[in-house]
Symmetry: C2
Subunit: 305 residues, 2 copies
């Protein structure tokens, strides 16, 4: 087979691994539950085992390297996770070097949201641009900035924290210490919280609010309009700041696009004078949960050019 690289997406629940060739075709993939109970050493062993099994099937010599997306802040120079709410026991653990020692191949560690942004540029909705911003709506709101075809990391690997942009200075309190963070008003969690305020019941999820909106429930529609407005306020600021050609939205609430996008676009057009003037676009991301896998796999190709 031709040259390939391996992308790893280490999530809170699943460990997903794919071998991807230079054309962006996934030639092999493995998914298994991620086991965190026994500490980071065990996770490293699991990752190495899966990678080794893929290498044995696909050949060793053509492997460009391994990219690993993890849900945490990474010190890019040392390859150490310096902070993560979703990776218990990983803070300060030298993930990259442990895996590199074990496998003897080049490992690149990356934040998962950054990897997803890069993946969308490589094989998704951003294939025609080199500059884009991705916002991922989930429990919180994460994201990544791709500039000149590369991830913009910031000096401590913490760039792209769009979820903590202030959209309402006196809005809902956030765990980060701020009030009115975007993610308190536009994440899947925020949609569910607004749904409960609309008396949809204690077990309300963003998917349930979506189902109700589809059925024509006016309060469910209002939830998505409120969420769309918050998203539009943040996007407008991002557009005025970056003047990038493309802004992508991904995550669980994406199917509700038709319910939140109109309110979002009203805010964007009102608040970002550069938007219509420049022909910038706000679109759905295309790769879903695979974006991070593609992006992780792309990293070794990118660094070898």
């Amino acid at each position: 087979m031709s040259a390939y690289s391996i992308g790893v997406d280490l999530g809170g629940t699943n460990l997903r691994v794919a071998a991807v060739d230079e054309q962006g075709t996934i030639v092999a993939r493995v998914s298994e539950p991620a086991v965190f109970d026994s500490g980071p050493e065990r996770v490293v062993v699991d990752i190495c085992k899966v990678i080794r099994s893929i290498r044995e099937r696909n050949g060793m010599e053509e492997l460009h390297g391994v990219g690993i997306g993890v849900p945490g802040f990474i010190d890019m120079e040392s390859g150490v996770v310096i902070g993560s709410a979703n990776l218990p026991g990983f803070e300060g653990f030298p993930v990259r070097d442990q895996i590199q020692k074990n496998l003897g191949t080049r490992i690149i560690l990356e934040n998962d949201a950054n990897a997803a942004a890069l993946g969308e540029m490589w094989m998704g909705a951003g294939r025609n641009v080199k500059d884009l911003i991705l916002l991922t709506l989930g429990t919180g709101i994460g994201g990544g900035i791709v500039f000149n075809g590369k991830i913009l990391h910031g000096f401590r690997g913490m760039a792209g924290e769009f979820g903590h942009m202030t959209v309402f200075p006196d809005g809902n309190p956030c765990g980060c210490g701020n009030y009115g963070c975007l993610e308190k008003h536009a994440s899947a969690t925020a949609i569910a919280a607004m749904g409960r305020m609309m008396h949809f019941g204690r077990d309300t999820t963003s998917a349930k609010v979506f189902d109700l909106a589809v059925q024509g429930n006016p309060r469910a529609k209002m939830v998505f309009e409120a969420m769309g407005r918050a998203l539009g306020i943040a996007l407008a600021s991002l557009i005025n700041i970056f003047n990038f050609p493309l802004y992508l939205i991904s995550g669980g609430p994406l199917p509700a696009w038709d319910f939140f996008a109109p309110a979002m676009m009203i805010e964007v057009k009102k608040r970002a004078f550069t938007f219509e003037r420049t022909g910038a676009k706000i679109e759905k991301a295309l790769l879903g949960a695979d974006a991070g896998l593609y992006g992780a796999a792309y990293l070794p190709f990118q660094q070898s050019t």
Copy 2:
């Protein structure tokens, strides 16, 4: 003399030109009133005349090129001003090519706020970093993004419009169509407007509000606190977005730093969880009105490396 380049700062009132050597020393400077009444052709003639006089004094052969900062949006490829509130008659005018034809040397056109950000990196408060953001408080609020030592332009040359970030979604209306833009709450104009609301009189300027604050006037101090809060809200979002090591403030209200900075820092610390954690800094810019001159002069050096 050693190799030098020429920086031009074309402002609404003055045309300022400086010859700067590779070490960043200004070896010659000229300032004269900018005359816009007779159209852009006349402005080009004036610019060329001043540059020629400097070249005659300093020698032709060691000139690296000429950088020109103008208060407008620029199409970087064509060197054409595509929008400007302060350069009447310049929209669509091929400034760069006209000057290049006239002088026969390489001309680089740049937005003045971008040039100022680059100047601060080269010879000002950002000498120790390669990534910084500059906010300039004036009639409006402009700014520039320097990433990896270079200006981040955006795809239509409109990046860095920090003045139109939304800080209060239901705040004061802005000429851009938005409500609660940063510049409606934190520019010199906004300080003067708040001063008038505090009954400081019709002729209130931000300098007058500053004088009153120095004299201990509690309402003048409140104006700067309100302005500092708005600035802090925007800075916190920028910090969460970029994770850069340095954010600089410049412009007329800078002497009032001690009046607005405490409120600004309270907002930043509350709203940007990455701020204290990473050791990022918010500081005064150092070069004042010369930042744009330095940045413009640096452009030809940068492009020849």
